[in-house]
Amino acid sequence: MAGTADMAAGTGGAATALRLVLKRLGAGLVTMLLVSAVVFTVSSLLPGDAAQETLGQSATPEAVAALRQQYGLDRPAPERYLRWLGGLAAGDPGRSLVANMPVAEVIAGRLPNSLLLAGLTAAVSVPLALLVGILSAMRQDSRLDRGLNIATLAMVALPEFLVATLAVLAFSVELRLLPSIAMVKAGAGWGETLRSLAMPVMTLSVVVVAQMARMTRAAVIAQLGQPYVEMARLKGLGPARVVFAHVLPNAVGPIVNAMALSLSYLLGGAIIVETIFNYPGLASLMVNAVASRDMPLLQACAMVFCGAYLLLVLAADVVAILANPRIRQG
């Protein structure tokens, strides 16, 4: 068994890893395609199409028909889907009915804000979550661990509008420290931007840190029960060395996966936070699109969020593949 894989282990392993990564990428693209079909189908199931919506109830049937033709809505569904898909691939997902401008432009105006919010939240919450998760795993069943367990358990179940409301009451109404509206002004300095984003970031972090910390703890604890950990302890290694040199390399996969899931939530899940703080992000744009039934915009937003999710999951998969010597070393 042993003598065979020896020679080519290095190069064979790299090739295996590359093949696996490409396979995941391919699977991701297929999923994206299927998602687009689901989104398109669901969002064009009901009557009351865009032309009617734009012109209102009082429009003459002729006018509606004309606009329908202009939008290509008189075409059969498969053809419309393919045309939409082609546009999507080319970066042109159609025209927003409400804003009456290309969807791509509308999204381009909001995406940087969303990325800024998500990026800041990630920068705050990932280290915090790792710290909390690893600490409570190392002190399993201690008072600290139990306390953190109850705290994170409560935090993942809190509705965001409660967290946001309490934050506004505390920092804006009572202490008057932070603005309750998170407008990003063009040309505002970094300090001002950070100040205005403090509360949204805080609110989002509450939920995300709790989620990631719990999953990190679970991943570390799952490894702590393994015989190789007992072996490491019986070699006289201290707890820190056991966790950092032995446990973490094996827990990377699940931890990174948990991070990806939680971070993907930062884009789409920010809906309520964006609404409360009046933050002009992509999620609140999508809520508006739902309220106004602006289907092209809605579809495009949904695809952006799904794409982000798949990208993050793919990144996590790649990290997990590279961290696993079974694959890396063939």
Partner: protein, 617 residues
């Protein structure tokens, strides 16, 4: 090694344990005592074996020598002294300094005890470097020297590999190197060969014994296997449910046990041969397998699946007969049972039951065919549904096959419990609440409930303690006499098979390398693999390991053999260059009635194996 375990006057013992008490705190207050006031002492360089069945506390005691208690356990009292250090009074830093440096541990499953994400060498030298005993370069040099003395292949480069790239026997030896690299004064070996195939076990035992002796270390050897312990230890301490039953020099404990419990253990370790079924060569075959091929993946043009598990297997089992199938892990023996039961679809060949061909999968089999063939799995923990009661488990086949009503089912369940020597009260219990032996009896009773003609028994005793397993075998022999059942008895253990079965079949790499009556398996000539197998079973006698023919191990050939060639070729000690690696081996019938798949003829095999003729009786 110094003279066995008697204390030299004036010289203190190296390891002294007295009044050791280990408890398990229970949630409902109170404590369960796991180890009761255990005391023993080992002179410097001595080897003490802790022997006992599961739950005897042997591993728990061994770990306490390092001041370690597994989660849920607590060292509640007593003292442990290693070379003058009071281990139980050490603080965390003191324990850290002791473990891995002065006292080293070799775990049961090296495959699990090595970190899968780190290269072997990193792990082997870690303790030595971290304890500041030597530089990394020195530690690596010492490790390579140990790899060499443990007869590991490629000692220079094996450290760069990862655990998943190595075999179980290699990992177990690497773990010994990891333990010995710091030059510990005490080594604890915790069932270090239990997870290995018997042919690998011998080599590993050899390597361990030499390496420990070269170090001059004191050793504690934990095992359930008396025959293995007989090879390794000067003194034996017999444990039962956390209490010392007996301790003394190895030969005395094995030859003249003073304690009743020890006597039971010793007796169970020597399986008594059971009388063969009344001669019945005239009876028609109940089960016949012809040219069976099975595996996973796409089936190629030659009829072979991409990953073949069974290749051209044929066998025949007559009504009321017993056929033992022997093989090591990966030999395909369990797959054989699954194919016959219909759980795995063969890619070629035929299974005939009572003269009629069985449909290859589950689909198309008649209820009566299902009823007449019953499977009994190795591990009763997983073979019984924990959500069901015993009555439910036994009642289902009664209702399913025989359409019995509620009252008739209850009556029959009581009879079945009685038949398998279980108290009637277990009927209402859930399967998870029973002991291991009871579960295996229920497992048997369920198969009997169907009223079968053939039981496919897959390693039915290997998950059980020896004494319990012996009782199950006894029960199975009785049932067979009473009910006229036929058994296909799958096992990795040739001595059990020889004792219980009329016919024996040896599988290697999915091919039948030898088949015949059980008497043919008592003396040479054998197929070379059977020879290796027979010669690898340790005997209950100190010195067997040394006396065992110590031919230099033949280097393994890399890679699997080509299509059609002998599967044993890479490991065969008597392979013929130019023949075995070119031409598929023929089947030969030997004079004892057994059939081998080998290029060597009877006389050659006889000559090669002469030294062991009669030895295996």
């Amino acid at each position: 090694m110094p003279a066995p375990g008697t204390a030299v006057p004036g010289i203190g013992y190296h390891v002294e344990v007295s009044g050791l008490r280990i408890t398990a705190p229970r949630p409902d207050s109170g404590e369960a005592v796991i180890v009761h006031d255990v005391s023993f002492a080992i002179p410097r360089g001595g080897v003490l074996a802790l022997i006992g069945e599961s739950g005897s506390g042997k591993t728990t005691i061994a770990l306490s020598l390092m001041g370690h208690a597994r989660p849920g356990l607590r060292i509640a009292g007593g003292t442990v002294r290693v070379g003058g250090t009071d281990v139980l009074s050490l603080d965390a830093a003191g324990l850290s300094a002791l473990r891995g440096a002065r006292v080293a541990y070799i775990a049961q499953s090296a495959a699990a005890a090595f970190n899968p994400s780190r290269a072997i060498m990193d792990q082997v030298v870690e303790a030595a470097v971290l304890h500041g005993l030597m530089s990394r370069a020195e530690a690596e040099a010492k490790a390579v020297a140990l790899f060499r003395s443990l007869a590991l292949p490629d000692p220079e480069s094996i450290g760069r590999r990862y655990p998943h790239q190595l075999s179980g026997g290699q990992l177990q030896r690497l773990m010994a190197a990891m333990a010995l690299v710091t030059g510990p004064e005490l080594v604890i070996l915790d069932e270090p060969t239990t997870a290995l195939d018997v042919t690998t076990q011998v080599e590993v035992l050899h390597a361990f014994k030499r390496a420990v002796r070269e170090q001059g270390a004191t050793a504690v050897y934990v095992s359930h296997d008396l025959a293995v312990v007989a090879q390794m230890a000067d003194r034996i301490l017999v444990l039962n449910q956390g209490r010392v039953r007996e301790q003394g020099p190895a030969s005395q404990v094995l030859k003249a046990p003073a304690d009743d419990y020890t006597r039971t253990l010793v007796d169970a370790a020597r399986p008594a041969a059971r009388p063969a079924a009344p001669a019945a060569a005239d009876r028609a075959a109940l089960l016949e397998v012809r040219g069976l091929t099975a595996g996973y993946g796409r089936v190629g043009a030659d009829g072979m699946p991409a990953v073949p598990i069974l290749r051209d297997v044929s066998l025949s089992l007559r009504r009321g007969g017993t056929l033992g199938v022997i093989g090591e892990s990966g030999s395909g023996k369990s797959t054989l049972a699954r194919v016959i039961a219909g759980l795995v679809r063969p890619s070629g060949g035929q299974v005939l039951f009572d003269g009629a061909p069985l449909p290859p999968g589950l689909e198309g089999r008649a209820k009566d065919q299902f009823r007449r063939i019953q499977l009994v799995f190795q591990n009763a923990d997983t073979a019984l549904n924990p959500a069901h009661t015993v009555a439910g488990v036994l009642g289902r086949p009664l209702g399913f096959y025989h359409g019995l009503d509620r009252a008739a089912r209850e009556r029959r369940v009581r009879e079945l419990l009685d038949l398998t020597r279980l108290p009637a009260a277990v009927a209402g219990r859930r399967c998870g609440e029973l002991s291991g032996g009871q579960k295996q009896r229920v497992n048997l009773a369920r198969a009997l409930a169907a009223g079968p003609d053939l039981l496919l028994c897959d390693e039915v005793t290997s998950a059980l303690d020896t004494v319990v397993g012996a009782a199950i075998l006894e029960l199975m022999a009785e049932l067979r006499r009473e009910l006229g059942l036929a058994y296909l008895f799958i096992s990795h253990d040739i001595s059990t098979v020889r004792a219980t079965c009329d016919e024996v079949l040896v599988l290697y790499g999915g091919t039948v390398v030898e088949a015949g009556g059980r008497d043919a398996f008592r003396r040479a000539p054998f197929h070379p693999y059977t020879d290796l197998l027979v010669g690898s079973v340790p005997e209950l006698e100190p010195g067997w390991l040394e006396r065992r023919r110590a031919g230099a191990p033949v280097p393994s050939l890399p890679g699997p053999p080509g299509a059609g060639l002998c599967r044993f070729l890479p490991r065969c000690p008597v392979r013929l260059a130019g023949t075995c690696d070119r031409v598929p081996p023929p089947r030969r019938r030997l004079s004892a009635g057994n059939e081998t798949l080998c290029h060597h003829d009877e006389d050659t095999l006889m000559r090669l194996q002469a030294t062991r003729a009669e030895a295996a009786c």
